[in-house]
């Protein structure tokens, strides 16, 4: 029963940790707008955590530059299990317009398993909510296991 309680709670209280891996700030602003009164993700239990140790969902924006790559990977590894990695916008999924640049280390999925991709450049807040909702489902599954 306790396990079920935790699994239910895990779906209702996902905390986000946001990593900017060289983003142009478009996605960052959209992610913040998800938390504004207009979209208010907090009504679904989402909360922006200050430290990866508190987070359930890691949201990565930006094309993962060579400078940021080790930092991104380190921050992701510091998130306690069960965790869920969401890429936001096209950049972390493929590099987008920055693809092929000497300073882009390529898509994030080359290095870690990405659970959810939210496409868009930048994605609409509704799409972000969609993606996060999908991520909570995955979290719940992971917790249920």
């Amino acid at each position: 029963m306790f396990k079920k309680l935790i699994a239910e709670s895990a779906a209702k209280s996902p905390w986000l940790f946001h990593i900017n891996a060289g983003s142009c700030n478009g996605c960052d602003i959209e992610l913040v707008s998800v938390l504004t009164p207009r979209y208010d993700a907090e009504r679904l239990g989402f909360k922006l955590a200050g430290s990866p140790r508190h987070a359930d969902i890691v949201v990565v924006t930006g094309p993962v530059t060579t400078q940021s790559l080790p930092r991104v990977l380190r921050a992701i590894s510091q998130v306690p299990e069960p965790r869920c990695i969401v890429t936001m916008g096209s950049c972390p999924q493929s590099g987008n317009v920055f693809r092929g640049s000497y300073s882009v280390a390529g898509p994030l999925s080359k290095y870690v398993h990405v659970d959810v991709d939210v496409a868009g450049c930048a994605p609409k807040p509704e799409a972000v909510i969609d993606g996060l909702a999908l991520a909570t489902k995955i979290l719940k599954e992971k917790r249920g296991r």
């Binding site: 935790i6 709670s9 955590a49």
Partner: protein, 341 residues
């Protein structure tokens, strides 16, 4: 036999009311109400009132990472000690006329006991070894210093007011303060106590580390300060402690300034013609409900409203604010009480 019974009774006090269960439910609900009301004030829908419970249980199921640089035992034990100490403080605060343990500690003791939860989070943060925690604990400590002066002044003013009314000169005992108010009406009805009550209301968000006095746990700038390295159940315990601290401080406010309602409860029960054990049990139940409602009201006024209406202060501003504006309010009350107004 009777010893066992009374031991069980006290165990019940500790574990159920006004101990753990009440603290857990009350604190979490207060936290939920606070979040909901803040959201409402910001024209948002806000999380469900039960959201803190979800957060708590979710964190219970997470992995606990102990950083390599941390002192493991201190890191893991500090939250538990803080939680236990906080629950014990709650036991010492009388619920109107019902007070299981409040004869054991007076307001000065409570003032000092309130340092223990703050200290537990400080020591826990320090033990994690994170520099963010270092900055956070510095700020937390300064916030504690900042809150201490007005809190001291308020408590001394209350002690003087009740003491001179009782004829003993001074009264530090919470039980006596509660009994006096039950007989003579709430202290907040006195002109001299209004600034003190106001000062106490302003101290509450600082003591609990709520917005805008949460420079110590600023998530966006110093990664939640002392909590930066905490994850999983220890973090859940800290979140619970924070929620209980809200309950503790608000019920301390009720005990200090709104104790007159206790007399009304007794009157209502007498009107209903209830006597004996049934009246006692019902009285406690009613007291608990009224206490919780009052706590929720105070939370809305002094935590949610202040949260919604302000932006986070810098640490030196927090200190200045408490040692000037709030202290001046409390001092005014103390001087008024001193001259018997």
């Amino acid at each position: 036999m009777s010893i066992i019974l009374s031991a069980l009774q006290y165990l019940g006090y500790i574990l159920i009311f006004p101990g753990f269960l009440f603290c857990f439910l009350g604190g979490m609900l207060l936290c939920g109400i606070d979040r909901k009301i803040v959201a409402k004030m910001q024209k948002r829908v806000g999380p469900p009132v039960l959201q803190p419970f979800y957060d708590f249980f979710k964190l219970c199921g997470k992995e606990t990472i102990v950083p390599a640089a941390a002192a493991k035992t201190t890191f893991l034990m500090a939250p538990l000690v803080g939680l236990a100490a906080l629950v014990v403080i709650q036991l010492f605060i009388p619920v109107f006329h019902f007070s299981a343990f409040s004869g054991m500690a007076d307001i000065i003791v409570i003032l000092y006991l309130l340092l223990i939860p703050a200290l537990s989070i400080i020591i826990g943060g320090a033990a994690s070894g994170s520099p963010y925690a270092g900055v956070g604990l510095s700020r937390e400590m300064v916030t504690v210093i900042a809150c201490e002066l007005p809190l001291v002044l308020v408590l001394l003013a209350v002690a003087k007011t009740v003491g001179s009314a009782l004829g003993t000169g001074l009264c530090f005992s919470l039980t006596e303060i509660a009994a006096y108010q039950a007989a003579n009406g709430s202290l907040i009805l006195r002109a001299s106590m209004i600034p003190a009550a106001l000062a106490f209301l302003l101290v509450i968000p600082g003591e609990t580390g709520n917005h805008p006095f949460d420079a110590a746990e600023a998530e966006t700038e110093i990664c939640e300060g002392m909590l930066a390295e905490y994850s999983g159940p220890p973090l859940a315990v800290y979140k619970l402690s924070h929620a209980i601290k809200m309950l503790t401080l608000t019920s301390l406010f009720v005990a200090l300034f709104l104790g007159g309602i206790g007399g009304k409860i007794v009157n209502i029960l007498a009107l209903l013609g209830l006597t004996g054990g049934a009246a006692g049990a019902l009285g406690v139940l009613l007291g608990a409900v009224v206490l919780f409602l009052l706590c929720a009201l105070i939370t809305i006024v002094c935590i949610s409203l202040v949260h919604a209406a302000t932006a986070r202060l810098k640490i030196e501003q927090i200190f200045k604010y408490y040692w000037t504006v709030v202290s001046a309010l409390a001092l005014m009350s103390l001087v008024l009480a001193w001259y018997g107004l």
